[in-house]
Symmetry: C2
Subunit: 179 residues, 2 copies
Amino acid sequence: MEQNLQHTIALLSRTPNALNALLRDLPEAWTHNSEGDNTWTVFDVVGHLIHGDRTDWVPRARRILESGEAKAFDPFDRLGQIKESQGKSLVQLLDEFARVRSEALDDLRALNLQPDDFNRRGRHPALGVVMLSELLATWAVHDMTHLHQISRVMAHQYREAVGPWAKYLGVLKCAGHSA
Amino acid sequence: MEQNLQHTIALLSRTPNALNALLRDLPEAWTHNSEGDNTWTVFDVVGHLIHGDRTDWVPRARRILESGEAKAFDPFDRLGQIKESQGKSLVQLLDEFARVRSEALDDLRALNLQPDDFNRRGRHPALGVVMLSELLATWAVHDMTHLHQISRVMAHQYREAVGPWAKYLGVLKCAGHSA
């Protein structure tokens, strides 16, 4: 289906509560272990989602509206959350994600996008020309990519514990696809 | 890590609220579309989780405690939810999942499992000898397999809409691994 602003916002607005319900006060064995060297914990993923809402999605939408293809987006720092998350608890990050997401969606609504705006074009530093509708769809699918990752990182902690059932559990066969 | 009953219950007890927060009143474009022929919608997945809690996990734990390897588990009907879900709304299924999961965890706690019990063995109709600890770990990872699937099915609905960003979105590269 095509990107639909109401559908996109409906999904984006639910992710913080979903992660809160899944993760708050869960034993750290689930949330502070990764899939191995140079992979992320659930804690890292939540920090990454916060960082994206702060620096990436709405600022890029504004860039498209203000500059079109003339000025490329600022590159997204995929590790930018590491410093910001240091010393915080997962509960703090979950609260912060709820607040930051709510503010980002307020900012998005305040852009008062009209049907013609969705076809407006901007410039991604690596991908080249992109449309505003693609940016908004990507925001939603980016949430799903990281929910997908969170489910996989948590499943990994019981990789050995499931014994012979591993062959039936699709999530244990997932290679990660980079996130 | 090894299966730990408190960790397993902590995760299992959160899944219904997480799905409720993610899915309740979401536009049906997200929840009632699949990944294509012979694949499941989000609605189907929630029905499957209910069916598993009703017929599979705790009944199999009881079978191990009562019969050991002498009597194999009843096979799990992976499509058993289709009939049970017919005519229901997703909101009804989410409420039902919360109730059924809560009852299943009450039943699990009532088994009053002791450390030695986790090594008790049963017989899976296809996998052969399995341990109670493996069954319990599998219950938790089964939740994660289907959360992984739900995130993938939802992302699929915007597969075209994200345009060139698809190459950065891991969830769109996930082959599914059977679930």
